[in-house]
């Protein structure tokens, strides 16, 4: 009965969601979450001595999920506002907590990226020890990550958000290298500490709603309802809004990671197994930026605008600082980890520019970074498998001994540098231009990142891959067909999106428009928030001038 009160609200929120009926017939999103879980359960029951069985199960489960993700992508209506493929299952009735799953443009590509990276991660890990458990944890991880990206209920989101930590902890601790337990623990605690703020924030919002007259004493943690409530009633004070935003922001900032709470990332990345790094960089960092775009900003738009200068500053520091620190890393994986700090800086910067281009560029970079950094980590993993080192100083001349592998690494390097033609450029450029129009000097500072990225990546490439190979480097084994099959899809996707980003932009733009509207609604009464930009003043006048000249 309590939840009934929230239902009309949800229909007001998503008046165009005709897919509701269709979704009832087949719960696609639930299936996407359950298939990896089912796979994990099946794999667990298989004999430990035959890891190849588990591997097959893992591959089938992740490929089936990928298939569903492709189906989702193809059936997604890009022009439709609001959420699609919505499902709702009851969970904790007394608190109005529901398994509300749905996707919009923002979450769609995170789901697809997740579905793409997991089979690749498994394919790249056919030679790990204790293969059965590895597959089980990977599948558990996929389930949790997918849950994060489709959940609309804050409590359910939080549960998945935290659940992700468990398989990741065991993947790093169990299959990592060197200082793995330290790294895994640090990762776990760092992000847990951040999450504590998130949890506090979520509970507070829920309680505030429950006590507010608007709810009539009902409980809900549905993000849409709460956003609507906060925006329409102005029920929470400015200070409360800001504190709640900070609570959400801390958790997400740690996850991104934003300077200065980034130091867990290099350790976690370096010690994680290859597949772990791929997933970590590819989708787990995006849980942070996703959190901002999905929850923190739309729920507390005023506070987001208030915090924007700080967020922009931190993200620009991340871009520059991450790049400079990356330059000095002796370890290839640490270098790529710091490059992630820089890349995610572009995402956060674009997001907090609070312009259409900034958000679109940020979302695009989230996908692009998953592809290019994934490719880089995969190849570093191959080098580690062969040379048992990731130290740049131990390598050298690989371009001569393993030309195909080095060529692919170079392609990934330039994709990561943001060479036009690869997806990285599209994302970076769009987020920069979106930031420039409202926050000029932040964008100017961030643009130095394009120089720095070339420096740290090409310098590393020079040291590790050029020159005359000696010793083990000269006799290194060339990339195998299976390994090529892991890298090439990522680079091909990056190239495709670099030349033709429209399919992605088309599907995210409606969601971004919705978000912009939510920001407008949430700041009604405030005149001219800095995220709003005057239309180009000269455009109309000068077009006339041009046509006049022609005539």
């Amino acid at each position: 009965m309590l939840t009934l009160a929230t239902l009309p609200e949800r229909f007001i929120q998503h008046p165009f969601n005709f897919q509701h009926q269709h979704a009832r017939s087949f719960p696609l999103l639930t299936a996407m979450i359950l298939v990896p879980l089912l796979g994990a359960l099946v794999a667990m029951m298989l004999p430990k001595s035959r890891p190849e069985y588990a591997r097959i199960v893992g591959f089938v489960a992740t490929m089936a999920t990928l298939g569903m993700a492709v189906f989702l992508l193809l059936n997604f209506k890009s022009s439709m506002h609001g959420f699609q493929f919505a499902e709702s299952h009851e969970w904790i009735k007394a608190l109005g907590v529901r398994f509300d799953f749905s996707v919009d443009g923002v979450s769609l590509f995170m789901v697809v990226l997740t579905a793409v990276l997991f089979p690749i991660g498994l394919l790249a890990s056919t030679n790990v020890d204790n293969g059965r458990s590895f597959v089980v944890w990977m599948l558990a991880l996929e389930m949790s990550v997918l849950g994060v990206f489709v959940a609309r209920d804050l409590i359910v989101f939080f549960v998945f958000f935290e659940l992700v930590l468990v398989p990741m902890y065991f993947l790093i601790a169990g299959w990592g290298h060197g200082n793995n337990v330290y790294a895994a623990t640090k990762f776990f605690l760092y992000t847990m500490a951040g999450s504590a703020f998130l949890f506090a924030g979520i509970l507070t919002v829920g309680v505030l709603y429950h006590r507010a007259p608007a709810s009539g004493g009902a409980w809900t943690f549905d993000a849409g309802t709460l956003t609507h409530w906060i925006a329409s009633s102005g029920a929470i004070s400015q200070t409360t809004g800001r504190l709640l935003f900070i609570g959400f922001a801390v958790a997400f900032a740690v996850k991104v990671p934003l300077f200065p709470v980034h130091t867990w990332l290099p350790d976690a990345h370096t010690e994680a197994p290859t597949a772990g790094s791929v997933v970590l960089a590819g989708v787990m960092l995006k849980m942070g930026t996703y959190g901002f775009i999905r929850f923190a900003i739309p729920m507390f738009p005023k506070a987001a605008i208030w915090a924007a200068p700080t967020m922009l500053t931190l993200s620009v520091i991340g871009i520059i600082y991450g790049a400079i620190v990356a330059t000095m890393q002796p370890d290839l994986k640490r270098l790529i980890a710091y490059s992630s700090v820089a890349h995610l800086g572009f995402v956060v910067m674009g997001t907090f520019a609070l312009t259409t281009q900034g958000l679109q560029g940020g979302l695009f970079t989230m996908v692009s970074h998953g592809l290019t950094t994934g490719a880089l980590f995969l190849i570093v993993g191959m080098i580690y498998d062969r040379r048992h080192t990731r130290k740049i100083a131990d390598l050298g001349g690989l371009w001569k001994s393993v030309p195909v592998m080095s060529g692919l690494f170079l392609a990934a390097t330039f994709a990561s540098i943001g060479l036009p033609g690869f997806s990285g450029f599209v994302g970076e450029f769009t987020s920069l231009i979106g930031t420039f129009v409202t926050r000029r000097w932040w964008a100017v500072a961030a643009t130095t990142g394009v120089i720095l990225a070339a420096i740290y990546l090409l310098w590393a490439y020079q040291r590790a891959f050029t020159g005359e190979p000696e010793g083990d480097n000269a006799t290194m084994k060339e990339i195998t067909f299976r390994e090529i099959a892991t890298v090439v899809p990522l680079l091909a996707l990056s190239l495709f999106l670099g030349f033709y980003p429209k399919p992605l932009f088309d599907r995210t733009q409606t969601a971004v428009q919705d978000l912009m509207t939510q920001i407008e609604d949430g700041t009604k009464g405030d005149h001219g928030h800095p995220g709003y930009r005057e239309p180009h003043p000269v455009k109309a006048a000068s077009v006339e001038a041009k046509s006049g000249a022609q005539g």
């Binding site: 506090a200 609570g247 281009q357 030349f499 000068s542």
Partner: protein, 664 residues
């Protein structure tokens, strides 16, 4: 015919396809075939470009700006739209003709030059990819499309400079080129941001002439122009972003000819001409505008690089500094508003500098990879075709009429002179001085290489393998190169003779073909009034005289080659200055010191002092404190995770309590 205007995309697509085929299957296709496939693709592009030229010529008025969009590139990003499209207009057609034309010749030349290289097919893949990117650069319908080609050529430049990456110097040079270019790109990108933020578009058609910029302040437009120029400085190696170009000579010689002399490095001149509206509209005050900066940067580069060239002994480094210097001329022209003169010099320079580079490649090939001019001399007897064509190139660059360089350089100097005021005269004077030095250092080079005493006997005994690839005939006298290499030399030699007739400084009858042809692309550019015929004629005579003086000095000093002790007479004459010039004013040494000194120190400080010790140290410190507190309070709890978790739970409880109270 008109259909070719819509099929313009085929021109870059062909070499792009060639690059993919040769990259994937080159090894299987085998040595000469892979090269011929690459040559065929760019050759077909050339033919296609000729058809496109005729198609455009048949158009009139607005028809000479033909935009063809393939697909929407940036779309769904608010009001930021960019099409993946091409602009066919006189400027871009001029560029594609000369890029594909010279490109074809150099591809053909490479078939012979790269013979026997273990990465033969890969070379051609890169070369094809370069051609495709360069064509996108010049054909792009917007700043962003140009930028795409711009970065593409940067990538190819990187790949080709470090083509022999086993050599550390080559790998370093490639990286240096890319990073320096990125510094320029920083300006280019900011320029685009600023243009978009004020005009809401990046399409060239919007910026046809300076009248279209009305509504935005002159200062802002000046900023846009200068930011774009920073990009041009990077790509076209203007001081102080010139440092990468001399090192780029680490690449195979055809690369130096195609990319680092004829085409890619002129992209900056192209960009400034393409964006001429911004330069025309800009104004700072007191007659100073963005063009002033462009002209002076060009003048300084023209003179500075020419002085450095007289002290270089590597045959390719002389030409590299010469290229810097000639690019400086082009910017000097663009800066005073004489875009046509700049573009004219770009074309003639492409002819004679490609000729000189390919000639030097032929020398290096014939000398079994020797590049030091001190170990050459008297080579004309052994390589007659190379010698004769090189001499044509020398006369062209020295400004001897009626060779190509005379006409274009003369036009630049005249336009500078008449551009007005003391500044015009000062720019002219700098240009004349640089012309004198040019004639001198080129004469020095020709005599050190092709005339005078034969100094190669000792060095040929031990083959250096300097240019990286093996040669079956590693012993014996220098030899002439195969036909695939000499044929391009002959064609370029012919073009260096007649190239000047593209635009002759006569208005009755009007023989300024290039100027008339380019006019629609340079709409609204300043018209520099060419003084009276007599003063123009006197200026030309002056330029010729200066060239001849330079040649005469060079001849006097080097007519017998080098003295027996091998010491360059210039070195003793210049005294301490010789060292400064030999080290190119210590730019590189200074930069290297900065990078390995303060820059590295700062980066290390951030990575170690700040990141590892301070930030991460604080994090670990918090962790330790919590753990110790946990240990102290509850010795029974030993699990690390559990201790931390307890702290967190306590923290959460307190936070919730706090927020709850705030909520009430």
């Amino acid at each position: 015919m008109q259909r070719f205007l819509d099929l313009v995309w085929v021109i870059p697509a062909l070499p792009a396809l060639g690059a993919v085929i040769v990259l994937l299957f080159g090894k299987r296709i085998g040595e000469p075939k892979a090269g011929y496939i690459a040559t065929a693709t760019i050759g077909t592009s050339f033919v296609w470009s000729v058809f496109t030229f005729f198609a455009l010529q048949s158009q009139h008025g607005e028809g000479r700006h033909h935009v063809y969009n393939l697909w929407k590139w940036f779309a769904g990003t608010g009001d930021f739209h960019v099409n993946f499209g091409f602009l066919v207009d006189p400027l871009s057609v001029t560029m594609i003709l000369f890029v594909t034309g010279i490109g074809t010749l150099i591809h053909l030349y490479s078939v012979g030059y790269m013979h026997g290289d273990p990465r033969y097919s890969r070379f051609f893949a890169y070369l094809n990819l370069f051609a495709a990117s360069m064509l996108v650069l010049v054909l792009g319908s917007s700043f962003l499309m140009t930028f795409m080609g711009w970065e593409g050529v940067g990538l190819c430049s990187y790949l080709l400079i470090s083509f022999w990456f086993e050599k550390n110097s080559a790998a370093v040079a490639g990286k240096k080129a890319f990073v320096t270019n990125r510094v320029g790109d920083f300006g280019f990108m900011l320029g685009m941001f600023l243009i978009f933020s004020k005009f809401g578009t990046l399409d060239y058609v919007r910026f046809g002439s300076h009248e279209a910029l009305t509504g935005v302040s002159h200062t802002t437009v000046t900023a846009m122009a200068l930011l774009l120029f920073v990009g041009a400085m990077g790509k076209s190696a203007q001081v102080p972003l010139h440092i990468w170009l001399p090192d780029a000579m680490e690449g195979p010689t055809p690369v130096s000819a195609l990319i680092h002399a004829a085409t890619m490095v002129t992209a900056g001149v192209f960009l400034v001409s393409r964006a001429h509206a911004f330069f025309d509209f800009s104004a700072i005050g007191n007659g100073i505008h963005a063009g002033t900066v462009v002209a002076w940067v060009g003048a300084i580069t023209a003179l500075g690089a020419a002085t450095v060239a007289i002290r270089q002994n590597d045959i390719k480094r002389v030409l590299a500094y010469s290229t810097l210097s000639q690019l400086g001329y082009m910017f000097l022209a663009c800066g005073v508003g004489a875009y046509t003169a700049g573009l004219f010099h770009m074309v003639t320079h492409a002819f004679f500098k490609a000729l000189l580079f390919l000639g030097s490649g032929s020398v290096i090939h014939g000398m079994h990879h020797e590049q030091d001019m001190r170990k050459m001399g008297g080579l004309r007897k052994f390589m007659p075709i190379t010698g004769a064509t090189f001499i044509i190139g020398w006369l062209a660059i020295a400004g001897v009429p009626p060779f190509a360089g005379f006409w274009s350089k003369d036009e630049i100097l005249a336009k500078a002179f008449f551009s007005g005021g003391a500044q015009g005269k000062a720019l002219w004077a700098v240009g004349m001085l640089a012309a004198l030095l040019t004639a001198f250092y080129m004469t020095r080079q020709v005599w050190m290489v092709f005339f005078g005493n034969e100094r190669f006997r000792d060095s040929l005994a031990d083959d250096h393998g300097h240019d990286g690839h093996d040669d079956a005939n590693a012993q014996g006298d220098p030899h002439e190169s195969p036909i695939t290499m000499t044929l391009p030399l002959l064609v370029l030699g012919a073009l260096s003779i007649v190239g000047g007739f593209l635009s002759l400084p006569f208005t009755k009858p009007n023989l300024e073909f290039l100027a008339r042809w380019l006019e629609p692309s340079l709409e609204g550019a300043k018209d520099i009034h060419p003084g009276a015929f007599t003063s123009g004629f006197l200026l030309s005579v002056g330029a010729v005289v200066v060239g001849i003086i330079g040649i005469a000095i060079g001849f006097t000093v080097y007519k017998r080659g080098l003295p027996d002790d091998g010491v360059d007479p210039v070195e003793t004459k210049l005294g301490p200055l010789a060292n400064v010039l030999e080290n190119a004013y210590f730019f590189d040494i200074g930069l290297a010191k900065f990078v390995s000194g303060p820059a590295t120190k700062f980066a290390t400080f951030l990575a170690e002092g700040i990141d590892r010790k301070t930030i991460d140290g604080a994090v670990n410190g918090v962790g330790r404190t919590v753990k110790e507190a946990g240990d102290g309070l509850r010795r029974m709890q030993t699990g690390l995770v559990r201790n931390y978790a307890l702290g967190i739970v306590a923290g959460v409880a307190m936070l919730i309590a706090y927020m709850w109270t705030r909520a009430i």
